[in-house]
Subunit: 158 residues, 2 copies
Amino acid sequence: MQYNFFSMQLENIFDDTYFMKKALQEAEFAFEKGEVPVGAVIVIDNRVIARGHNLTETLNDVTAHAEMQAITAAANFLGGKYLKRCTLYVTLEPCQMCAGALYWSQISNIVYGARDTERGCINLQTKLHPKTVMKGGVLAEEASQLLKRFFIQKRNLN
Amino acid sequence: MQYNFFSMQLENIFDDTYFMKKALQEAEFAFEKGEVPVGAVIVIDNRVIARGHNLTETLNDVTAHAEMQAITAAANFLGGKYLKRCTLYVTLEPCQMCAGALYWSQISNIVYGARDTERGCINLQTKLHPKTVMKGGVLAEEASQLLKRFFIQKRNLN
C-alpha cells in the first residue's frame, strides 16, 4: 500500500504543468539574452530529450525559433527524423513555420501556453499532421506575463 | 555602341531562368545523395549569396529543406536576419514551414519551379509577408522531371 501510494505520487509529478515549467525556464533564458521569450522542450516517456529557446536575434536567423531547435535536437537524440510518441511543450502557440515543421515531424502531441491570435498557427490555419493532437492554455498566464514584461522593458530601453 | 550592346547582352543573362538553373544544380546534388531533389538559391543584385539543397535524410532532420538552409545562409552572408531586396529561387513550391520562414524573413520575391498541389503553401494557404511577391512555373518541367526520376528510382530500389 505504502509503495503503491508513493509510485502514484511520482506518476503525478510528470504532468503538463511540470513540463511546461521546463519550457518556461527556457523562455527565461531567451529573456536574459534580449530575445522574445519563448521556450520549448520535447518529451518522450516522461523524459525531456530536447530543449530550445528563441535565438533569432543572437543568431541573426528568423528560423531560430525555440520549437525549430527543439525539433532538430530531439531528432538528433532519437537518431531519426520523426517525433512519433513525443510531446512538444512550448510557451507560445507555434507560428506557421514551426507548425509546418511539426507537420513534417509527425509529432504526437503539442501543448502550448499562451495563444498567439495574430501570428499563431490556429488563426492562420496551418495544417497539422492528422496524427498530431494540439492543446493549449497550460501556464498561459505565466508565458503571457513574461512576454509582456519583455516588450515593456524593450519599449522603455528604446 | 559596341559597349552598350555588350552590356545589354550581359544584363539579359541574369534572368529567372539563369538563377533557376543554379537552383536545379542544387536539386541535382540532393538527388545524388538520395534526397528528394529540391534545390534553392537566394539572389541579391544579380548575385547568388546562398545555396541549399534538401538534406532531411542526411541530417535526419525534417527542418533541413533547401529553402531553410538558404534562408539561414543568406542571413549569415548579409549579417542581418531580414532578406529584403532578395529573391529566392526554389525548384519546388515551398511547403508551409518554408513559406512560414519566408514570411518572417520579409523576402521581396519568391520564384518557384514546379507546383506542389498537395503540400505546397498555395493550396494550404500559408500567409506570406505583404511585401513578398511570389511567382512560379520557371523551369517547372525540369524540376518536375527530376522529382519523377527520383521517385521512380526509389520505387525500383525498394
